[in-house]
Subunit: 257 residues, 2 copies
DNA sequence: ACAAAAGTGTTCTCGCTACACCCATGT
DNA sequence: ACATGGGTGTAGCGAGAACACTTTTGT
């Protein structure tokens, strides 16, 4: 929110620059220690966590807004993004929350503030390379960190539902999206990739069958270099063959997991 | 938009009652003559067609808004609805269009009218039983009618893209949604059902294999009664077995077309 | 030597495909 | 009778599941 010099400015002037009644919430997925993780912010005043979110400038494309917000929290420029759902229950009442929140920060919100009206939020999810992310908290947050998707902390509003819906959506599109490609570093083991699929699909896969199937797509290049540091036999490293991968995705990776 | 006595009222007062900058557009799918159809409105003043759409009351759930709009155009109360995408390009500029449109109807829109600002639109699609629909045009439209999805007329704004995106989304979810159930009358032939799948998937299916597979789900009851009027051999009629169908859907109709 | 994880092989089953054949009915 | 479309049978293939066996490496 570069346009605003201070938080107070943002509160007073925001309605002039943003689309009204609309926010964006990003579910940022990363992958580390063979675990799928989500990036969350901890509020300064309340012991709850929220998704990195923000608003859309009146002159801005909505995807660009989501990217801008993500860039501010992760430092990344190129991010794979996917719009997946609009959350709009009028029960997601943030009024009291925002009044208290800003009060504690020394700002007295007028009752007719644009920020107190009913908001719909557009849910996006992003797939990012864990190691490249430089998490940075925002003005309202004391902390930003990664959480295992299956061990989430206490979340504000409907943000837990948003994460779960994002996961469901990914499950549906797993054979049509470059999921591993965006979550993994350039070189990785088949075990890494298998863990991602297992998390998203929420079931165990047979190692032998997984390897055969994923290799049969012809989208991975085997590197002779080997990963060291593992306690036992060193696995081969693989890298996505970009060309073959995107070609295959267009046709849909028809075989299903 | 019952709350408004006249179109002028709606223009002047709408911003007090509706969520700002947001509209809803519905892609209503029906099935007739073994063809998938979409319900479209023809504008009074321009020779183009649009999707039935509307706005969301500030106190209304967004799904309820979509249902209300649909009810007004189709007369149906129970409708299967699915939110599928938000369309928000700032290029979808309706300013000139609306000014001209309302001018021709004798209303002079002020430049700062709420209806001239940038709108995002929430795309929903609905699956309805063709025969039960009683299409009813709205104040801005001269005509409402069904169009084959593969022979669409000239559409306003990005409405063609919206329809195509809806179809793609249905294709993705075809094995997880009660598609046939909502589009077909209580009793129908396997050929009818096959036509729906062929349209959505955009490819021909083998009759024998389709029949076997769809029957293997155990979600159809065979009726001994037979359809007459066909030129040749009379096919059996089938009906969905509600219980079995919804149970199977929850588990995902795992086998894929 | 042993444990643990990686890599590979094998067998069985089941579903999909393609196509063939028979059945029913209106002209 | 024949054309047309509906219903059903079948052979072959390929993919997936389950599980066994071998290989590598650190302790």
């Amino acid at each position: 929110m570069k346009k605003f010099g201070s938080l107070a400015d943002f509160i007073l002037e925001g309605n002039k620059h943003f689309l009204p009644a609309l926010s964006i919430d990003n579910v940022v997925f990363g992958f580390h220690d063979n675990q799928l993780k989500v990036l969350l912010l901890k509020l300064k005043t309340i012991n709850k966590w929220i998704l990195p979110g923000g608003f859309i400038f009146k002159t801005e494309e909505i995807e660009d807004a989501a990217l801008r917000i993500l860039q501010e929290r992760t430092g990344l420029k190129e991010i794979y993004l996917q719009q997946f759902h609009v959350f709009g229950s009028r029960k997601r009442n943030k009024q009291k929350f925002f009044k208290d929140l800003y009060k504690e920060m020394g700002i007295d919100l007028p009752d007719d503030s644009w920020i107190l009206q009913r908001f719909l939020t557009l849910g996006f999810y992003a797939l990012v390379e864990f190691e490249k992310v430089r998490p940075l908290a925002d003005d309202l947050s004391a902390q930003i960190s990664w959480w295992d998707v299956d061990k989430l902390p206490d979340l504000m509003f409907d943000h837990k539902e948003i994460i779960e819906t994002a996961l469901k959506d990914m499950r549906l599109k797993i054979n049509h999206q470059p999921i591993g490609f965006n979550l993994l570093p350039r070189e990785f083991t088949l075990k890494n990739l298998q863990s991602i699929y297992e998390t998203i699909l929420d079931r165990k896969l047979d190692r032998a069958n997984f390897n055969r199937k994923i290799l049969s797509y012809g989208i991975l290049d085997k590197k002779e270099k080997q990963y060291t540091g593992g306690a036992h036999k060193a696995p081969y490293l693989y890298a996505f063959n970009k060309q073959a991968y995107f070609k295959a995705l267009q046709e849909g990776l028809e075989k299903n997991f």
